[in-house]
Amino acid sequence: MKYFLVSLPILGVFLGATVFNRVTPFIFGMPLFFAWTLFNVLLMSAIMLAIYKIDPANAKPTGEPR
């Protein structure tokens, strides 16, 4: 599951270079290529959060403040 999740943004990079490698249409004023890359970064962070939550290695309290 972890590895499936982490493969998504990597796939996203390659999609970004191929399918979404265009300036138009503009999304929220950003070129499509730009918007996609930005979305992919947010996706990476979200996926790492999900992985962090489901990974049993993080289940035990570490006792240190964030």
């Binding site: 191929t18 730009f34 970064v41 962070s45 790492m48 962090y52 290695a57």
Partner: protein, 489 residues
């Protein structure tokens, strides 16, 4: 004496003071000095890792690349993010092993895991060769920033020398503690300055970020996506792959893994770091704003886009603030590189040549080496030509050669022997040297290749030969290998 210069000088003095206070009167043995006694928490590990990644290259380079190459600049953000993602699995086993065996440097890791001082020695030489050009690049950036932001009142040479002295002072006294405190201040400053510039400049010149992109598209159609030749999709993907693999292979980045007090810190940071990379987006926006507003910069000058646009827009005192932030982006990573380079020299080169050196003198030699290495870097910065950029590309390709034997060592059953690791690294580094000095690329090797193939990053040539050699030599020198005791995913 203009207001910009005063602010830059204050920043420099501030950095020295903070750096000196950071030692807190601790006794600085080598473990304290190089890896902070393995006591750093989430915030320090975060800023150290981020601090090394947001260097002058990001400040000047990312905006300059956006200015000169357009959409291709996004590769920088994407590769750092992918490296952060990989850190979730890569860093905890490295940290665990280093803690278990009390390792100080990157060569220590390789020497231990392959049970071979020779492998460690080679890794130390490779690391030192790669670090010096990177340090020179930081000094060069520092010189440019100070000279332009002080409106020429401080020359590049003076700035480089003052910067090197400042860095050496706090490195010798506080080691990595000084870097950590300064990195915290630097990150706050750079975040504010970059965010302000990236949002304000497009607004000031175009009314909004969207308007700016629309104007660029009207003037230079297709500039904001990847071109078909040169920085094309193949170049984009392969460069991202090579750079993401290389990021944690820098000796100073590797050593900052050791500073952490627990392995869970890396997993936490892997969640937040991609978001933090968005800061680079702001510096790219500055570069895009400059495209139509300060046109005409070509070649190496594209790196000046951010500073030129700032001078054209703001009052001197604010240019000074930007310059001060720029000085910090050079000082902090530079100090990390200086610490790593001197520790490598003292612990993995000097000590191997003079085996009778005791532990205490190793730390003294490291502290003595720091100003000397800084002096060497200053000499090359002032006397070297533009070949520095070529050297840096070489440095990045060189450290990437350490990735295959590292990953192999993290596998539950390391299939690679010490002979294989050594041969692979040597072949890889030699290939990089040949490729860089003869300016070989896929395009020159296969003149008839389509742009799609020709875009492949040249770093792959060396990496492929490295892995092939590593596997072949390992098969022929197979003996039972010691391996990483703990499991790695």
């Amino acid at each position: 004496m203009n207001s910009a210069m005063i602010i830059i000088c204050l920043a420099l003095v501030g950095a020295i003071v903070v750096g000196l206070l950071a030692s807190h009167g601790r006794k600085m043995n080598l473990e304290q000095w190089s890896v902070g006694g393995r006591t750093f928490g989430t915030v320090f590990v975060f800023v150290l890792m981020a601090g090394e990644i947001y260097t002058t290259f990001t400040f000047l380079g990312a905006s300059g690349f956006a200015y000169g190459k357009g959409g291709a600049v996004l590769y920088i953000m994407t590769y750092t993010c992918l490296a952060f993602v990989s850190s979730y699995w890569l860093l905890p086993p490295i940290w665990r092993y280093a803690k278990q065996h009390n390792l100080i440097t990157q060569p220590d890791f390789f020497a231990r895991v392959y049970d071979s001082p020779a492998v460690g020695f080679i890794v130390a030489i490779v690391g030192l060769v790669a670090l010096i050009p990177y340090l020179i690049l930081q000094f060069k950036g520092l010189g440019i920033i100070v000279e332009i932001a002080s409106y020429g009142a401080i020359s590049t040479q003076t700035a480089v020398i003052i910067g090197a002295v400042a860095m050496s002072i706090y490195v010798v006294v506080s080691g990595v503690h000084g870097s950590a405190w300064n990195a915290t201040i630097k990150d706050c400053t750079i975040l504010l300055v970059c965010a302000f510039l990236g949002l304000y400049l497009p607004y000031h010149y175009y009314g909004s970020v969207g308007e700016m992109f629309a104007s660029i598209e009207k003037a230079k159609s297709g500039f904001l996506a990847l071109p078909q030749v040169g920085e094309n999709p193949t170049w984009y993907c392969t460069t991202i792959a090579i750079s993401a693999l290389g990021l944690y292979m820098w000796p100073h980045t590797f050593a900052s893994i050791y500073t952490s007090k627990s392995e869970s810190i890396f997993r936490k940071n892997a969640v937040v770091m991609p978001l933090y990379s968005l800061v680079m987006l702001f510096s790219m926006l500055v570069g895009f704003t400059a495209v139509l507003k300060v046109p005409g910069l070509t070649g190496g000058q594209i790196d000046l886009a951010l500073l030129r646009l700032s001078i054209a827009t703001f009052d001197p005192w604010f240019v000074g603030v930007i310059g001060a932030a720029g000085v910090l982006t050079a000082l902090v990573p530079g100090s990390m590189m200086l610490i790593a380079a001197s520790t490598l020299f003292a612990n993995n080169i000097y000590r191997k040549v003079m085996p009778e050196t005791e532990g205490r003198s190793v730390s003294r030699i490291a502290k003595l080496a720091a100003p000397l290495i800084a002096m060497v870097a200053v000499f090359f910065t002032i006397n070297g030509g533009n070949s520095i950029v070529a050297l840096l590309i070489m440095g990045y390709s060189i450290v990437t050669q350490l990735f295959p034997p590292l990953v192999a060592s993290l596998l539950p059953n390391n299939p690679v022997t010490k002979q294989g690791a050594m041969a692979g690294i040597l072949v890889g580094v030699a290939t990089v040297a040949v490729v860089v000095t003869t300016k070989t690329s896929i395009a020159t090797l296969f003149p008839g290749a389509s742009p799609l193939v020709a875009g492949i990053n040249t770093g792959f040539i060396a990496l492929t030969l490295n892995v092939a050699t590593m596997i072949v030599v390992s098969v022929f020198s197979r003996v039972p290998q010691p391996r990483l005791a703990s499991s790695a995913e």
